[in-house]
């Protein structure tokens, strides 16, 4: 550069700068044209769904991919460590199958999710389908918001009003229809994966008037079992007994979601149910 004379340096800078300016102006012009007069052309991407995992026993598969969907229970709300039952389950699976690679694929649970919303997502959402197809173990919780929100008229976490038990009963069939749709769609998306549904419990067992609610919850659990029973790869893990006499030990301070220890019990039960 030092040998460059002033005249040559000027030529070099000048030409480079003019070229850059012209290019940038062209880019700006194109951007304005493109944004003010957009031409809409549909872009059709190439759908590349992952191959289904091999069916069969988890202990024999090379790797275990866990995908979790559902509501706040799967999200892990109430667990101050943030692990919930899903991460604890993955940790337990690692110790149970030391020779297998266990990974949490996705935890797609959303706080406040209801069964009809989940059914719709399974129908339309590509991301859900993608994550579910990769999995050979699917865990999910759903239904709690459908029942308790309807019965209380508000979201369960800020429930203050009265829980109407007769309403709970009236809503059971509708909620179960939605669960039916979910199981059907799960089976359509990934018939090879092992699916575990975590049953409902009555978080208000220790509150005199609402103890009766447990009977409705049991009806739900019983019918839910029947829905899952149709598919040999689906199973259900009960939780109702964990949250009766040991509520103070296993429920978090919001008196609805389990705490870390409560989630640990759920995770342990899921692992027990897997061969």
């Amino acid at each position: 550069m030092r040998t460059l004379s002033s005249a040559n340096l000027w030529k070099f800078i000048g030409i480079a700068a003019v070229l850059c300016t012209v290019m940038l102006l062209a880019g700006f012009g194109y951007a304005v044209k493109d944004m003010l007069y957009p031409k809409s052309e549909a872009y059709s991407g190439s759908e590349d769904l992952p191959a289904l995992p091999a069916g069969g026993n988890l202990s024999e598969s090379k790797e275990i991919n866990v995908t979790a969907i559902g509501d706040s229970l799967t999200k892990g709300t109430g667990d101050s460590s943030g692990e919930g039952y899903v991460k604890q389950l993955v940790a337990l699976l690692k110790t149970k199958y030391p020779d297998t690679a266990v990974r949490l694929n996705n935890n797609l649970a959303v706080n406040g999710m209801k069964a009809d919303q989940l059914a719709k997502l399974l129908d339309t959402d590509k991301g859900y389908r993608f994550a579910l197809r990769q999995a050979n173990l699917i865990v999910f919780t759903i239904g709690g918001n459908d029942l308790f929100q309807i019965a209380a008229g508000a979201s369960p976490s800020r429930m203050t009003g009265e829980l109407k038990l007769d309403k709970l009963q009236a809503e059971l069939p509708q909620g179960l229809d939605r669960l039916d749709a979910i199981t059907k769609r799960l089976n359509a998306i990934n018939p090879n994966a092992h699916v575990v549904y975590v049953g409902l419990y009555n978080p208000f067992y220790d509150i005199g008037d609402y103890r009766e609610g447990s009977l409705q919850i049991q009806k739900w659990n019983e019918r839910a079992y029947a829905l899952l029973h149709r598919y040999p790869n689906m199973s259900m893990v009960p939780t109702f007994d964990l949250f009766e006499n040991t509520i103070s030990r296993y429920l978090s301070s919001d008196h609805f979601h389990p705490n870390h220890n409560g989630y640990a019990q759920i995770a342990a039960r899921i692992v027990q149910s897997l061969e």
Binding site: Y43, N107, L108
Partner: protein, 328 residues
């Protein structure tokens, strides 16, 4: 016109000899590797946690949805997240990775993040002492005693400034591509990028969304960056004419630019802030379809505001510079 070209040559070489452009290149050479390294670490973490970019994207959407379901989050913030969710979902639905790990994608996001602060800063390094520097060193007297009309002198300074703004934008992009490409790979030119998201309230209208190859997107982005950098440059030229000391001129412009960034992040309730130039600098957001800092702002609006500020500054610069008395 016959006397103008030598003047431009003179001004261009003066800036070059003052080594301002070397400083800019040096800053880029230091900062870009730092950002590249940071991005590399993020990519490594994601690789460990996610099997595939689909999983990462799905998880990101899910996290936003969980935030949206919370009652404690301000509405304004929710609105922008809601829009982000819909855009990410659009990418997911069309099987396009919005954050593909390659040199071109890194350059694209670096450039768009740099538009509100980093580029104005680089531009100020050149523009702030164009006139005030001549005053400080006393060379302005020699410049103005030559038999040349004063407006020609200022015009030649403006043209030289434009040259360096263009060079700064292009060199930043090229350096960023070369450095990050060494780590992430030199590909990604043809990856489709979606543009044309129309924001209506808290949802997006996707009927005008179309895919452009990433190289074209980068070109459009660079053009928009150039326009906002030029606005800053022209304003800085005016300040440099009005203010006697170079440091005062830099501080004034920096304060204006930084206050714009702060205002953008908190001006949801003060609507007339949208007439301030520095709130309108993030032109690349319109291309990407991110919500503007104040509802109702559009590309056309921002361009008008920037053009207005630039025109006023030019008028002030030229009228003051041609009439001003030069005293020490």
């Amino acid at each position: 016109m016959d006397r103008l070209l030598p003047l431009i040559q003179n001004e261009t070489l003066k800036i070059w000899k003052k080594k301002r452009f070397f400083v800019i290149v040096l800053v880029l050479l230091i900062l870009i590797p730092v950002f590249t390294y940071a991005q590399l670490r993020i990519a490594e973490t994601n690789k460990k946690n996610f099997k595939d970019w689909h999983n990462q994207l799905v998880q990101q959407i899910n996290e936003y949805q969980n935030m949206l379901s919370s009652d404690r989050i301000p509405d304004e913030w929710k609105r922008s997240r809601r829009i982000a969710v819909q855009q990410l979902q659009y990418y997911l639905d069309h099987d396009v990775n919005p954050n593909s790990p390659d040199g071109v994608t890194f350059t694209r996001s670096f450039m768009s993040n740099a538009v509100t602060l980093f580029f104005p800063l680089l531009v100020l390094a050149i523009a702030s002492d164009l006139v005030s520097g001549e005053r400080t060193s006393g060379t302005i007297k020699m410049l103005l005693t030559r038999p040349v009309r004063r407006w020609k002198i200022l015009l030649s300074k403006l043209v030289a400034l434009t040259f360096y703004v263009s060079l700064t934008v292009v060199v930043s992009g090229v350096l960023c591509y070369l450095i990050s490409g060494a780590v992430f790979g030199y590909n990604g030119w043809e990856i489709p990028v979606f543009t044309g998201f129309v924001i209506q309230g808290s949802s997006i209208e996707s009927s005008f969304v179309h895919a452009v190859p990433q190289w074209l997107y980068m070109l459009m982005e660079a053009g928009l960056i150039w326009v906002s950098s030029m606005t800053v440059a022209i304003l800085a030229l005016m300040v440099s004419v009005l203010v006697r000391s170079t440091s005062a001129s830099i501080v004034t412009m920096m304060a204006a630019v930084i206050s714009g960034t702060i205002l953008s992040s908190m001006s949801s309730s003060w609507h007339s802030a949208k007439f301030i130039f520095s709130v309108n600098l993030q032109l690349t957001d319109y291309l990407a379809g991110s919500p503007p800092p104040i509802t109702g702002m559009t590309l056309g609006f921002s361009l008008l505001i920037l053009a207005f500020w630039a025109a006023v500054s030019l008028a002030v610069s030229f009228s003051v510079f041609t009439k001003q008395d030069i005293m020490n």
